[in-house]
């Protein structure tokens, strides 16, 4: 604590020169400003994508078409996915990385601050391109976020906008990933060895490598779509000697690592929060690191499990089944380690901990359904049904998004210098957790009972669970307004946060004042103050 005070005294104003007002945010190269921009952008996209989800659930509230035509419905499912994946979850993780990684490793800022500014400011342009398609003749892209040809080639004026938006998002992600790798490998404080890194940093390095390896593959795939559409190539057209299934292979070679890009940082955050509120070191730190690496490796050799029904040789199906279910081993190890961390601990249940605990349970449920989907013969039934929709929303909403919420509550006091409203936070947690299960759990039943995904209308035997699911969806959507209230209230004021904020908190970020000085660590922290990642 005394150390933190010294930092504060030494580095108050004289390093803190930056333009004010709008220009501060446009020209900023500061990791915290950019982190804030990323997080606010992500929250905005979370609500835009959320509105699309509300349109979907409204139309599915009862059988028959009441509100939108099928084409627009397909646009909503497509855009909801693109906005949530590329606009909400990925930028949110980059925002967390920007804010926390330099502080966690004892650095003054990111290694490549100007690239950092650029990687953020590409995003608003990318999403302006993407969202502008809603107002174009022919409507927004409606071929699914997976952009399978030949269907996606039937997109109207929106098509090139979709492709270039994806390119921009990819460029932004790659720049962010390079920056994070450069920062972690070059900017660590003396004494911060790799095996002392907090798990959030570890999971993010691995995520960054996944991004660098997989995003160019996506860029290649969508470029081939572009040339197929406009320049007469036939990469994906059987009539011209191409292969529509090849697109799916290329897409999922990106797409499966992408899944772990969305979830690995969540593992890191949960691994920080559970030990803090359990007041006990994380169980099995090094096995957590190795498990993350194993998951990342496996993520590159399982892609065709998204395509079991597409028609593959038996040997291919067996290979992808075995590798896919193998992912359960390192993932299971993580869950067991978290539970072991709770055993014989001393827990309290502030909002970040509640979200982290809900993450462990609900992400595991998503993991179970993932295991079921990985078993090829049964996937011939599950594939492209609401069972899949339930599965990936359990891992992405109650997985990634819940971890984001947990992280936001965990570090909001550090970011703003003020404690958030704990009562409001608890309300947000309980309304979200109950409603999200009402929303997604019945979708397992719908899928098993035979409801395909991506349909705007359904047979009447699916009516009841759809209505239940929609009610859950509306409540979940509204609950997120509570989160906005918490954030706004916390930025505006509140009880002053201490440096350590949480009683059980360990790690460099808690040695700095709340909020931290503009240039985080201008003097490297004492090597003796570096405790190692299991705390």
């Amino acid at each position: 604590m005394s150390e933190a005070a010294t930092h504060d005294d030494h580095h108050d104003d004289h390093h803190d020169h930056h333009p004010s007002g709008l220009m501060r945010w446009i020209t900023t190269t500061n990791h915290k400003d950019i982190g804030t921009l990323y997080l606010l952008f992500s929250l905005t996209m979370f609500f835009i994508g959320g509105i699309m989800a509300m349109v979907i659930r409204l139309e599915l509230f009862q059988p028959g078409l009441q509100f939108v035509d099928p084409q627009f419905f397909n646009s909503m499912t497509t855009m909801h996915a693109l906005v949530m994946i590329f606009g909400a979850v990925m930028p949110a993780w980059t925002g967390f990385a920007n804010w926390m990684i330099p502080i966690m490793i004892g650095a003054p800022d990111m290694a490549l601050p100007r690239l950092n500014n650029w990687s953020f400011w590409i995003l608003p342009f990318a999403f302006t391109l993407l969202l502008s398609t809603l107002f174009m003749p022919g409507g927004a892209p409606a071929g699914g976020w997976t952009m399978y040809p030949p269907l996606v080639l039937q997109t109207g004026a929106a098509f090139p906008f979709l492709i270039f938006a994806v390119h921009f998002m990819g460029a932004s992600s790659i720049a962010g990933a390079i920056n994070i790798i450069a920062t972690v490998f070059n900017m660590r404080a003396p004494g911060m060895t790799l095996m002392k890194l907090p798990l959030f940093v570890w999971t993010w390095i691995i995520t960054a490598f996944l991004l660098i390896a997989s995003i160019p593959v996506l860029a290649g795939a969508v470029t081939m779509l572009l040339t197929d559409k406009f320049f007469g190539t036939a990469f994906f057209s059987a009539a011209g000697g191409g292969d529509p299934v090849m697109f799916q292979h290329i897409f999922w070679f990106f797409g499966h690592p992408e899944v772990y890009i969305l979830i690995l940082p969540a593992f890191g955050i949960v691994s920080a929060i559970i030990p803090t509120f359990a007041r006990k070191p994380l169980f099995g730190y090094s096995s957590m690191v190795y498990a993350t690496g194993a998951i990342a490796f496996l993520s590159f050799i399982v892609w065709a499990h998204h395509m079991f029904t597409v028609g593959m040789p038996l040997a291919g199906e067996l290979f992808f089944m075995y590798t896919t279910i193998l992912i359960a081993v390192p993932t299971g190890l993580k869950v067991f380690n978290w539970v072991a961390t709770m055993w014989r601990s001393s827990m309290t249940f502030e909002t970040p901990m509640l979200f982290a605990l809900a993450f462990v349970v609900l992400f595991t449920i998503g993991g179970f359904s993932g295991l079921m989907l990985g078993v090829t013969p049964v996937d011939f039934q599950y594939h492209d049904t609401y069972f899949v929709v339930a599965h990936f929303h359990y891992v992405l909403v109650t997985g990634a998004v819940f971890a984001l919420m947990a992280g936001a509550y965990f570090w909001l006091p550090k970011w703003t210098g003020n404690m958030y409203d704990e009562k409001l936070g608890q309300w947000h947690f309980w309304t979200s957790t109950i409603s999200v299960n009402v929303l997604f759990f019945p979708q397992h039943f719908l899928g098993l009972a035979g409801m395909p995904r991506r349909i705007p209308d359904y047979a009447v035997q699916f009516a009841d669970f759809n209505m239940v699911s929609s009610i859950g969806g509306f409540v979940f959507g509204l609950s997120q307004l509570l989160f906005v209230m918490v954030v706004v209230k916390c930025i505006r004021g509140g009880e002053k946060a201490t440096d350590q904020v949480w009683e059980g908190a360990h790690g460099l970020e808690w040695t700095l004042p709340s909020p931290p000085p503009y240039h985080s660590f201008t003097v490297a922290p004492e090597p003796s103050s570096i405790e190692g990642g299991m705390r």
Binding site: Q66, P70, L314, W343, P377
Partner: protein
């Protein structure tokens, strides 16, 4: 397309109507699980599904049980003191190896089922299924009989935006067609799936599988239906605007009824235009 166009003044009306519809729809079935189906393969994977689900439930109960016990027992408010141990190679090895062994136990029956699924040899007959936006075309290869199958007209009218028809009043809403696919029971039928425009997927849950219909490529699957009945399904791969409106109806009939039906089709197809005009 603008939002005002989509959310017209009828929004409020429709929401109120939807609320009133709640009790009406309560009569619908609350299907919870996979159907067992009517083919050897569908029953095989139903058993596999129940096995894996069972394993997941047991593991889930154990893990969440320990977790909830910890949440109740190890609270600071109850004066719990945190231990400081943080690793155990033995324990960590144990919960790496044990799940691996469970997975091997699951992979064995799964491999068997998959080999069974992919063995299309010895088929008694072949049906070629071609997906189009948005209908199915069936061709009985050996018999030279073919037919198109599209959504039935009463569903097709009721499903329009603003149709004013309550789907609950339409029989087999969205799951009925003009021309059913008639097949015999107790015959190993080889299905060849392909498509004429974009990718579709042919799925009848009672048969136990779905298979993508990819333009330019032909996929093979098989089914041996052992119960007479009508089995319904839908397209399962997003194929554009009317993806939700290209149902599949398979009617499994006795072998003699099938033979009679085929004969009738053949005689009708002597007047080649009759089939399509009559049924479309």
């Amino acid at each position: 397309m603008t939002f005002s166009k989509i959310f017209g003044s009828r929004t409020k009306q429709a929401v109120v109507a939807a609320m009133l519809a709640l009790p009406a729809s309560a009569s619908a079935e609350w299907g919870l699980n996979l159907p067992r189906g009517v083919t050897p393969f569908s029953r095989e994977i139903y058993d596999l599904h129940m096995l894996i689900l069972g394993i997941c439930v047991v593991i889930g109960v154990a893990v969440f049980g320990v977790m909830f016990y910890s949440i109740v027992a190890f609270r600071k408010s109850k004066g719990a003191q945190a231990a400081q141990w943080h690793e155990s190679t033995v324990v960590e090895m144990l919960w790496t190896v044990a799940p691996f062994l469970i997975l091997v136990g699951m992979a064995v029956p799964a491999t068997k089922a998959l080999i069974m699924m992919e063995d299309v040899s010895g088929a008694d007959m072949t049906i070629k299924v071609t997906g189009y936006q948005w209908k199915w075309h069936y061709e009985y290869i050996e018999e030279g009989v073919e037919l198109y199958s599209t959504i039935s007209s009463d569903s097709n009218v009721a499903r329009r935006l603003d149709s004013g028809i309550d789907p609950n009043t339409v029989q087999n809403y969205l799951l009925d067609v003009d021309n059913r696919l008639i097949v015999p029971v107790n015959q190993k039928i080889r299905f060849l799936t392909t498509a004429g425009d974009v990718i579709h997927a042919w799925w009848v849950p009672a048969l136990g599988w779905k298979r993508d219909a990819v333009p330019g490529f032909i996929n093979e699957s098989w089914a041996l239906i052992d119960e007479i009945g009508v089995y319904r399904g839908q397209c399962a791969e997003l194929c554009g605007k009317d993806h939700g409106f290209m149902p599949i109806v398979v009617e499994a009939v006795s072998e003699s009824d099938y033979a009679a039906w085929i004969e009738q089709q053949k005689s009708e197809s002597d007047q080649p235009v009759a089939l399509n005009i009559e049924h479309n």
